[in-house]
């Protein structure tokens, strides 16, 4: 009996101690108003749940203590068949409690679903535009693409996710957002159902092919917020991760400016050779704006898309946010990148034969060296602080 | 052995097991057809590049086959009522008519399907086509099973085994048959007569 009490206590305790310090996906560590609202709703309910449970368990122990009787006698206790008043009481009491809970649920639900009118002004190609922060989120096996249409989504046809209209900025694995702004997401998928989830910023929302789901995010402070695809989506579902990098408006503006410009053409020998290989081997799936613009979009793949590599070096993780592009000191993590180019399915399970995921390209070591040299010319590294914060193990 | 032990089987409800089982089963079937019909309704607009329902449904033709199925319900009750009177001859006659009307309906469906396929509506043409063929196909299979049951009754009658006291068997087959008819009443209205999208 002792041990029982101890254990049940323990299991209750476990729930309370849910917030370990290093838990980057912690759901109870809100970093923005939306996640905060959810947390505010959940916390009291958890307490209520403990109370209800304590009552049930307390009653059980009381009964155990008072009414246990292992004597082999023929005595019977008073035979009570029921008590309508009591029954009604314990029908009514939970009803009332739940009615209260439902009111709060509805309030939070409504507030999470209305759209705030907000706009920031951005410099786009030297012009000033008002941008209602919105990002198109596209899931596919097993990575996320983020598309920025800086002139708004009006008239942008998202109905066919495999054939989206060209966007101003296309990036993957890491979504960059300005802080203090509600970012509207239009989320869709190119193949199966995935789920977009940045626990610190909001709950999750499934993305489904043929459907565009609205969702939103908001971060209070600059920082890097981790996420994980949570709808089972096949082989590498566990390796379909992403991060949101929230920046001050100024940093965000410089990120935009950088992304809008094409990276400078390579000059170095190896990189030029790499570019040649890239044009032969890689452009059938990948896009680098300065090379193949929007012309080839992963036609080889079921999802019809591979990550846009134009500003590859400007992100710190790749391949579904599971590999670091940089060492903690800011230098390139060459070993990992080479391994990826050598045999991607070895690094991250994929059905490359089934045209899902990046295949092993059968490159020679020289070609790999050249390709790495070329890839490092694509975009510039973000600051060390981001590299540190986004480090994945 | 004591005869008492074997004759104690009146049922609590006064209803025979078989009949109750059939009704429970029909309750279950409501959910089955409900799911198929809702799936169809969900997809009736999704004809992709293929023909739309409004383009290909032949209402006059389907009306006739609906009428045929409806009348088979009449012949089915007549078969039962004949058997209850002990009129074996008419019972056989009506059973046969019912089966034939059913077969006529199925024939009509086969014709409808082939003409749809000729007009470019295959099973894999669009979500609409898949849903349409699945729904009407399930109904058709139910009718066909009903025909098999009717034929078994007929055979057993010809072998002299279908007597007045077996009328409940006929009644149960009848219940199934009418149910399938009732489902068609629903399908005919909701799927055929309610104005359909055209491409």
């Amino acid at each position: 009996m002792r041990s029982w009490r101890g254990l049940v206590g323990l299991s209750a305790l476990l729930t309370v101690t849910g917030c370990a310090a290093d838990a980057e996906l912690d759901t109870m560590n809100p970093q923005g108003p939306l996640a905060q609202e959810i947390d505010n709703l959940l916390q009291p309910v958890l307490i209520l749940a403990y109370v209800v449970f304590a009552l049930v368990l307390g009653a059980t122990f009381l009964i155990w203590w008072k009414f246990r009787d292992n004597h082999e006698d023929e005595e019977f206790p008073k035979q009570v068949h029921g008590n309508t008043k009591l029954e009604l009481l314990w029908t009514a009491a939970p009803t009332v409690v739940l009615a209260v809970l439902s009111v709060f649920t509805l309030i939070v639900l409504a507030s999470l679903n209305d759209r705030e009118d907000n706009a920031i002004s951005l410099q786009v190609d030297g012009e000033s535009v008002t941008w209602e922060p919105e990002v198109v989120v596209v899931g596919q096996q097993w990575w996320w693409e983020f598309r920025y249409y800086l002139h708004g989504l009006d008239g942008v046809d998202l109905s066919d996710a495999r054939n989206l209209p060209p966007a101003d900025i296309v990036t993957s694995s890491q979504m960059i957002i300005p802080i203090g702004q509600e970012i509207e997401l239009s989320a869709t998928s190119r193949d199966v159902i995935h789920s977009f989830w940045i626990p610190a910023l909001n709950g999750k929302r499934d993305v489904a092919p043929g459907r565009v789901h609205p969702w939103k995010l908001e971060a209070d402070n600059p920082g890097v917020y981790f996420g994980q695809c949570t709808e089972f989506c096949g082989l590498s579902h566990s390796r379909m991760q992403m991060q949101v990098v929230a920046m001050t408006p100024e940093d965000f503006q410089s990120w935009i400016t950088e992304q809008l410009a094409n990276p400078a053409a390579p000059t170095d020998e190896a990189a030029l050779r790499g570019q040649a290989v890239f044009e032969i081997q890689c452009t059938r799936c990948h896009v680098v704006n300065s090379i193949n613009g929007e012309t080839s979009t992963g036609a080889d793949l079921v999802s019809n898309a591979a990550p846009n590599l134009t500003h590859f070096m400007s992100r710190t993780t790749y391949a579904g946010g599971i590999f670091n592009l940089y060492e903690p000191d800011g230098s390139l993590d060459r070993t990992q990148l080479e391994a990826w180019l050598r045999n991607a399915p070895e690094e991250k399970p994929a059905y490359a034969q089934g045209r899902r995921g990046m295949p092993a390209m059968g490159l020679s070591e020289d070609e790999i060296d050249d390709l790495v040299a070329y890839l490092t010319t694509l975009g510039t590294s973000p600051g060390l602080s981001i590299i540190e914060a986004t480090e994945v193990e | 052995m004591s005869e008492a032990a074997t004759t104690e089987h009146p049922t609590n409800t006064g209803i025979s097991h078989n009949k109750l089982a059939m009704w429970v089963f029909l309750g279950s079937e409501c959910l089955l057809f409900g799911a198929l019909i809702s799936t169809y309704l969900l997809y009736r607009n999704e004809f992709h590049t293929g023909p739309a329902p409004g383009d290909i449904f032949d209402i006059p033709f389907t009306s006739v086959s609906s009428f045929v199925l409806l009348m088979s319900s009449l012949t089915m009750v007549l078969a039962l009522s004949a058997l209850k009177r002990g009129d074996i001859r008419n019972n056989r006659l009506w059973l046969l008519t019912t089966a034939l009307l059913g077969a006529l309906f199925i024939g009509g469906q086969v014709y409808e399907f082939t003409s749809f396929v000729r007009e470019g509506l295959g099973f894999t043409t669009s979500p609409f086509s898949s849903a349409f063929f699945t729904l009407t196909g399930f109904h058709g299979i139910h009718v066909s099973l009903g025909i098999v049951m009717l034929m078994s009754l007929l055979i057993s009658s010809l072998r002299g085994n279908l007597k007045e006291k077996n009328s409940e068997t006929v009644e149960i087959v009848g219940l199934y048959w009418h149910f399938v008819d009732v489902v068609w009443i629903f399908i005919f209205t909701v799927i055929y007569l309610v104005p359909n999208p055209t491409s």
Binding site: H81, S102 | L20, T39, H48, P127
Partner: protein, 645 residues
């Protein structure tokens, strides 16, 4: 009755009915509800261990970060098969085992309404179960999760044959469930002993009635969903082809319209079991019988209006989310009534904490934990943080393991003497309970934490650094403690059986029980009741043993031996065994394999099925030498009206 049926359906020479007799032949041809119950139970326990071993593999893989015991591909198959096996091949058939064995006894009947169909249900279930597990060796097990969301379950994204086995296998076990549900519904409504009105039925029988109705209405829905999947995979239908405008949410809705009633299909039998156990050992009648019954009905009924709570994040509109959020929350009300009524039953009792009672009390508290986390799911905004994390895994293992498995174990300890004529060791039973309780909480308690820390479900591995290491290790250790407890149960079964060998059977009433099934000797004789009892009250058996004296005190008026029948009646007519349920069922997997691999295989399968149906209909009502009787299940032969008594 009427021997006329025999006369009119002339036995066609070859189809004589088997005579029963002894040995394995007896088991494969049996139509006795008790034997079928035992078959169900034994098979389901085997699959419980299979599903449990799959769970242990999951836990081994997840015990440490970057686990490498199973690759991603195998892991996906293992967790899918774990869910499918546990739900469809362990929990549901275990409920069917109790239902089959006990319902006829609790209502005072000789058998179920359709004995041969009952055998059919079991064999079809077994065929489906074997079929599903054949996938391991025939090209890969299903890998789309137990709820197989489209389009990931489609042929493009799951090109192995696994999901074909899933769709066809579940279709087969679905047939078994539907047939058995119709059978038991008719049994309960039609075959109660004289005097047993619906409101004198034991709570277990009541809950089983609700479950059968849920099955009757829910199975066709998943049948349709599975047909759509089969047609899409096998024949290129476009139900989930989003490129042509299909909606992937169609599958989710159909699955959960079935799936949520399904979870109540799973839990209500266990609620029924402990509603028998708790009054017996508290030596009090169940508190608020009518409320118990009606809350069970209410749960079953409300269970139909909440399915989309599995889809709060799926992108259905906010209005739908709001509606389903509310309906889900209020399901806590009837469930709460049950919890409190059990407590009230114990309150003021004189409680014997036997192993069965311990497990029953375990249900009350452990299920409550799961139910409460269910309520936190029902608050849809909160659920968007919880869904598809280990918090959900924690929720449903608390309700499933804490609610269903504990309840079923309670039933094992309680009815073991009824079924096998000897008791299980109480001592081992109590150890069994405590070890299981510890292991269970150690396994699933930490999953709450993991979920709230953001660990997603269905991930084959996780990186260090998210803070998942500790609790995963604890959970994995816990799962082996559960395995130990299951092992203790198995040992208990063996040891007790060995001990009981050569000993006389235990007395008829080891627990001072309350309901009709204990009026037959232990183990139950083949014909159940020597004479069908006339029922006057709820807890009929108890009321025959006890009365009140002038001061209103309870006094014994008869010993159990006096009240119980001695099982000595002879010549009671029983339905004859039959080969055909088995033969028919064996045809089904052949047809299934045919659909997957080569249509040629459907031919022998089809012949077996059609042939055995034919044989079924025309087989003589009785075994040739048996006493004449009636009461059989074929439409052809049992159509005479209910005789007037």
């Amino acid at each position: 009755m009427t021997d006329t049926a025999v006369e009119t359906t002339r036995p066609i020479g070859v189809y004589t009915r088997p005579k029963g007799g002894g040995g394995w032949r007896d088991w494969v041809t049996t139509v006795d509800h008790k034997k079928i119950g035992i078959l169900y139970g034994a098979t389901a326990l085997v699959f419980f261990v299979v599903g449990g071993c799959e769970a242990l593999l999951i836990r081994l893989q997840l015990a440490t970060p970057n686990g490498t015991i199973l690759g991603a591909d195998t892991y996906n198959q293992v967790f899918t098969m774990h869910g499918v096996t546990m739900i469809f091949l362990a929990a549901m058939p275990l409920a069917a085992a109790f239902g089959n064995y006990l319902i006829p006894l609790q209502i005072g009947a000789r058998d179920v309404a359709f004995p041969r169909l009952n055998a059919l249900s079991f064999w079809v279930f077994l065929a489906g179960a074997i079929f599903l597990n054949l996938s391991w060796v025939l090209g890969g097990a299903p890998d789309g999760g137990w709820f197989g969301y489209a389009p990931n379950s489609g042929i493009i994204y799951s090109p192995s044959v696994g999901m074909d086995f899933y769709a066809i296998g579940l279709q087969i076990t679905g047939i078994a469930s539907l047939v058995s549900a119709i059978n038991l519904t008719v049994t309960i409504l039609n075959m109660r002993a004289p005097g047993m009105t619906l409101f004198k039925m034991p709570v277990f029988t009541w809950m089983m009635l609700v479950v059968q109705l849920l099955l009757v209405f829910a199975m066709p829905v998943i049948a349709v969903a599975l047909f759509l999947l089969i047609f899409s995979r096998q024949f290129g239908a476009n139900f989930f082809n989003t490129e042509m405008g299909a909606d992937p949410l169609l599958w989710q809705h159909l699955f959960w319209i079935f799936g949520h009633p399904e979870v109540y299909i799973l839990i209500l039998p266990s609620f029924g079991i402990i509603s028998e156990v708790i009054p017996t050992f508290s030596r009090k009648p169940i508190f608020g019988y009518e409320f118990m019954v009606f809350s069970g009905i209410a749960i079953g009924f409300m269970g139909w209006g909440v399915w989309a709570h599995h889809m709060f994040a799926s992108g259905i509109g906010p209005l739908s989310v709001a509606a389903f959020s509310l309906s889900t929350m209020f399901i806590a009300v009837p469930t709460g009534v049950k919890i409190l009524n059990w407590l009230a039953t114990m309150w003021g009792g004189k409680i014997k904490f036997t192993a069965a009672m311990l497990f029953a009390v375990g249900v009350i508290s452990m299920f409550t934990i799961g139910g409460l986390s269910g309520v936190t799911h029902a608050m849809s905004p909160a659920d968007t943080q919880q869904t598809d994390t280990y918090y959900v895994v924690a929720h449903f293992h608390y309700v499933i393991f804490g609610g269903i498995i504990f309840g079923l174990f309670s039933g094992f300890y309680f009815w073991w003497p009824k079924v096998f004529g000897h008791m299980l060791s109480e001592k081992l039973g109590k150890i069994n309970f405590w070890v299981m309780l510890v292991g269970f909480n150690m396994t699933f308690g930490p999953m709450h934490t993991l979920g709230l820390q953001g660990m997603s479900r269905r991930i084959d591995t996780y990186s260090p650094g998210f803070g998942f290491e500790l609790w995963n290790m604890v959970a994995s250790i816990g799962s082996f403690i559960i395995a130990t407890s299951v092992l203790i149960f198995v040992i208990n079964v063996i040891v007790s059986a060995v001990k009981a060998k050569g000993q006389p059977h235990c007395g008829p009433d080891p627990w001072d029980a309350r309901s009709l099934e204990w009026m037959t000797p232990n183990p139950t004789p083949e014909h159940n009741f020597d004479e069908v009892p006339v029922v006057e009250s709820l807890d009929e058996f108890w009321h025959r043993k006890y009365g009140t004296d002038e001061e209103g005190r309870i006094v014994r008026v008869a010993t159990a031996e006096e009240v119980c029948q001695d099982g000595s009646a002879t010549g009671v007519h029983l339905p004859s065994p039959s080969y055909w349920p088995l033969v028919f069922s064996a045809g089904l997997p052949l047809v299934g394999l045919g659909l997957i691999f080569s249509l040629w295989l459907t031919i022998p399968g089809g012949i077996m099925m059609v042939g055995s149906l034919f044989a079924w209909v025309f087989e003589p009502v009785d075994d040739p030498d048996g006493p004449h009787g009636h009461h059989d299940d074929s439409e052809e032969t049992a159509t005479e009206e209910a005789p007037v008594v």
